[in-house]
């Protein structure tokens, strides 16, 4: 089954997709997930017709997720 990580950027968002049964695609998605977290970004579980399903601190291969870059006051 396919899952995705939507990463917000200046183009709107880019999607990293993976298949639970395909370790290669999952590794790349995990790498992106870790990079976002390391840069101070946050990842939330996406949820259809609702505002997300919570903060995700560790890569969840069975979830659809949305990554938000680091937020700052301004």
């Amino acid at each position: 089954m396919k899952h995705s990580l939507s990463i917000m950027d200046s183009s709107g968002d880019r999607k990293a997709e993976w298949d639970e049964n395909d370790p290669a695609t999952m590794t790349e998605a995990r790498r992106l997930f870790d990079a976002i977290r390391a840069s101070g970004g946050q990842v939330f579980q996406a949820q259809k017709d609702g505002i997300g399903g919570g903060l995700v601190k560790e890569f969840d291969p069975k979830a659809n997720m949305i990554a938000v870059p680091r937020i700052v006051g301004g």
Binding site: M8, K48, I51, G52, I71
Partner: protein, 151 residues
């Protein structure tokens, strides 16, 4: 009627992502008014998320005037809809972090005072921007409690 739109492809993409993650009520509010409401995950207080980097903290039942205004934005030059979704997700699921990085300005002293007990109860007053702003930074001016206030 002109059949074109000024929306860039990036704005359209961001809008699709935002709409996919809103409730029906929020989508209707966004369509009709240009903003929508979310509830703080910790304080359970209502917030109004609009198209720019400011977010209103509301007093329950008072929808037309903010008790305070948060100024905060995600890095990366995101389209407006992405910024709104980022605000909404953070407020709902990580309100404490949201409040600790945002620049907060109480707007209506009468409403703001009424919220202090709620914020105290949910542990949101200590160690957040509410406290930083009100009692340490002194970036706003109204006749509110000073550094010696008991809370």
């Amino acid at each position: 009627m002109l059949g074109w739109s000024l929306k860039t492809p990036s704005a359209k993409r961001a809008e699709r992502l935002l709409h996919a993650n809103l409730t029906e009520q929020q989508r209707a509010d966004l369509r009709d008014h240009g903003y929508f409401f979310v509830t703080g995950g910790q304080s359970r207080l209502p917030y109004r998320v609009g198209p720019r980097q400011t977010v209103w903290l509301l007093a329950p039942g008072v929808w037309t005037k903010p008790a305070g205004i948060f100024c905060v934005y995600p890095l990366g030059g995101l389209p407006s809809s992405d910024v709104m979704l980022a605000h909404a997700l953070s407020i709902q699921h990580d309100e404490r972090s949201f409040c600790s990085v945002a620049v907060f300005s109480p707007y209506s002293p009468d409403l703001w005072y009424g919220l202090i007990p709620n914020l105290q109860k949910s542990g949101m007053l200590r160690g957040t921007t509410y406290e930083n702003c009100c009692y340490r930074r002194g970036v706003f001016a109204y006749h509110g409690p000073g550094p010696d206030h008991p809370i």
